[in-house]
């Protein structure tokens, strides 16, 4: 804002500002709004977004929410969390338990989502309360271990979680609600655009909430604890409480993503959807995009999901088309290199650009500071 004002003030003194520059400045300053409008209009212009593509973009939005949740812990507060998928899964399963026909609850979408988000946050608190006094790298292992415990439990408690089949059918949001002659449940079930807009609205709400949090007292306390826990405590910040709130916030947002995920798939899918791999992929997205940076996190998710759903299939079919790989060797298939490419990306980013692709200014300064 201030930068914008300064810019325009200078330009006013010199003369008229070229339109292109003004547009670019507006996009830089208000990228969230621009992106939101573009994404909101897109399904009306691109009919493909009403089909399978709409479903994929919805999933992308949900992963964005999940990554923003993880960013609270890893980005703002500097705590390594290797089990975010567990909270994603807890959110999804709680939501399913509260809505599927086989349980007596069968709550409405909003009630069920609210209850499961709160419950996920409570579970986060329960795990965080005893473990947050641990040193950073121990916390990484506790979250990792918790992720494994949750996955194994979901898989083995067949009577409650449906084992490998998962819980289904999760009813669509607004099932049985009729507004203005439109049966909302039916609309959600038939047209993927409804989910597209629901997920987009949720993502927009989370982005706005994160923006506000970043600048709030609590958000600044998170960053203070990350930069120097001792100094922060000396300033009267209770490090434990600040970390605990970050843990709870992360868990709650991940739980929200889980609710949307289960609702959009109308099943919880099998427990392997919530394993270590998922946690690591989300962590990679946050790190590649930029720790503590909202646009960075969103870009990171888009890149990683885009790699799997767009680039890899395209490259594979290209290799097939140009007949580079007549013997069908896995060495010459692009998707066979997926893990190595991700791994190399992580190593290179950490070496040459640890602040990520779109860094938060503060994080960049912190990471380039000379440590003794």
């Amino acid at each position: 804002m201030t930068m914008n004002e300064r810019h325009s003030a200078r330009h006013d003194a010199i003369g008229a500002v070229p339109l292109r520059e003004r547009v670019m400045a507006f996009i830089r300053e208000r990228w969230e709004l621009v992106a939101l409008v573009v994404l909101a209009v897109a399904p009306l212009v691109v009919p493909a977004l009403g089909g399978a593509l709409g479903g994929q973009v919805t999933t992308l939005f949900i992963y964005c929410i999940l990554a923003l949740g993880l960013n609270v812990m890893v980005g703002y507060t500097g705590l390594v969390h290797l089990g975010i998928a567990a909270f994603f899964g807890i959110g999804a399963y709680l939501f399913a338990i509260l809505t599927v026909p086989m349980y007596p609850f069968q709550m409405r979408f909003v009630t069920a989502a609210a209850v499961s988000v709160l419950a996920t946050a409570a579970i986060g608190l329960a795990l965080g309360a005893p473990t947050l006094r641990l040193r950073g790298d121990y916390l990484a292992i506790v979250t990792l271990g918790f992720g494994e415990v949750v996955k194994v439990t979901l898989r083995n408690l067949e009577q409650i979680t449906g084992g490998m089949k998962g819980l289904n059918p999760v009813p669509p949001p607004g099932a049985g609600v009729v507004i203005g002659g439109i049966d909302l449940g039916l609309a959600f079930a038939i047209d993927p655009r409804w989910f597209y807009y629901l997920a987009l609205a949720a993502l927009a709400a989370v982005v706005v909430a994160m923006r506000r949090l970043e600048q709030s007292r609590l958000g600044r306390a998170w960053v203070a604890v990350r930069e120097d826990e001792l100094a922060a405590s000396a300033m009267g910040i209770s490090a434990i409480r600040v970390k605990l709130s970050a843990f709870a916030m992360s868990s709650a947002v991940a739980g929200l993503a889980g609710c949307l995920y289960a609702a959009s798939l109308s099943t919880t899918a099998d427990p392997n959807a919530y394993d270590f791999n998922r946690s690591i992929m989300v962590l990679c997205a946050v790190i590649l995009g930029g720790l503590g940076s909202i646009p960075g996190t969103l870009l990171g998710v888009a890149l990683l999901v885009g790699f799997d759903t767009v680039l890899a299939p395209w490259a594979d079919s290209a290799i097939q088309q140009w007949n580079i790989n007549p013997s069908g060797s896995s060495l010459l298939s692009f998707s066979g290199w997926r893990l190595a490419i991700f791994g190399l990306a992580l190593v290179l980013v950490m070496r040459y650009r640890p602040e990520g692709l779109i860094p938060s200014r503060r994080m960049a300064a912190e990471l380039h500071e000379e440590h003794s």
Partner: protein, 303 residues
Amino acid sequence: MQFFLQQCLIGITNGALVALVALGYTMVYGIIRLINFAHGDLIMLGACLALSLVSGFGLAGGGMVTTWFGVVLLVLLCGLFCGGLNVAVDRIVYRPLRNAPKLAPLVSAIGVSFIFMNVGLFWLGPADRSFPELLPPANLFAGEGLQFTAKDLLVLVVVVPLMICLSLLVKSTRLGKAMRAVSQDPIAAALVGIDVDRVIAFTFFVGGFLGGAASVIYGLYINTISFQMGFQNGLYAFTAAVLGGIGSIPGAVVGGLVIGLVRALSSAYVGERWTGAIVFAILIVILVFRPEGLLGRGTKEKV
């Protein structure tokens, strides 16, 4: 009772194997405070090499003497391979990050583990591969009722001498003294003329060598390897290292044995599918109530 003793025996042999891997974690952590996520996958690559060597040289058909000689040779070769690889990774990936914030090497280690896994995927293919049974399955305790085969003997024959060598190395040699000095305070160590980078590289080599030895024994003892084996086994071993007190060498051994026993007993009495959850639940409980581990010393966060 018989059944219980048998499970304990299985647990101890398994635990010795876990301990060997845990040593690799604990030594690297002790010296540069890095959780080396790639260690499990390094061992997977060692197992790949072992499998290639065994099938390449047709070791499966030999007699008793050839087999045992071959096994020792395998342990040495895979140990050198994993040790060398570990040193190379340290040189290329971790050393430039020595002064970076803690997150950087940790994330790089996760990246290296992905790269290793991809190499393993190309080496082994996506499916599980069976490792040839080199050792006769006959029971060595004739008539006793307890099962103790040549495979179990192999684990102890390889693991125990390696651990004795390691403790001698750390306790009684100049290099071991340098390692302990660097782990206490790298700057002070450098001030008194210790080449810190070389000591760290050597630590990576020793950790990798033990991992390579573990990979051969894993192949011969468990008989199935896959490109994904590194993750789970690495986690168990890391749990063992933390349980014993990370950074402490005897701690890793004790932790490994405890984890081995817990795994064997929980598989026998609770059910195999809960084993993972039980092991990690124990890890969480230990970290909460005794974060310094069973044998570790408490450390205070320094300014």
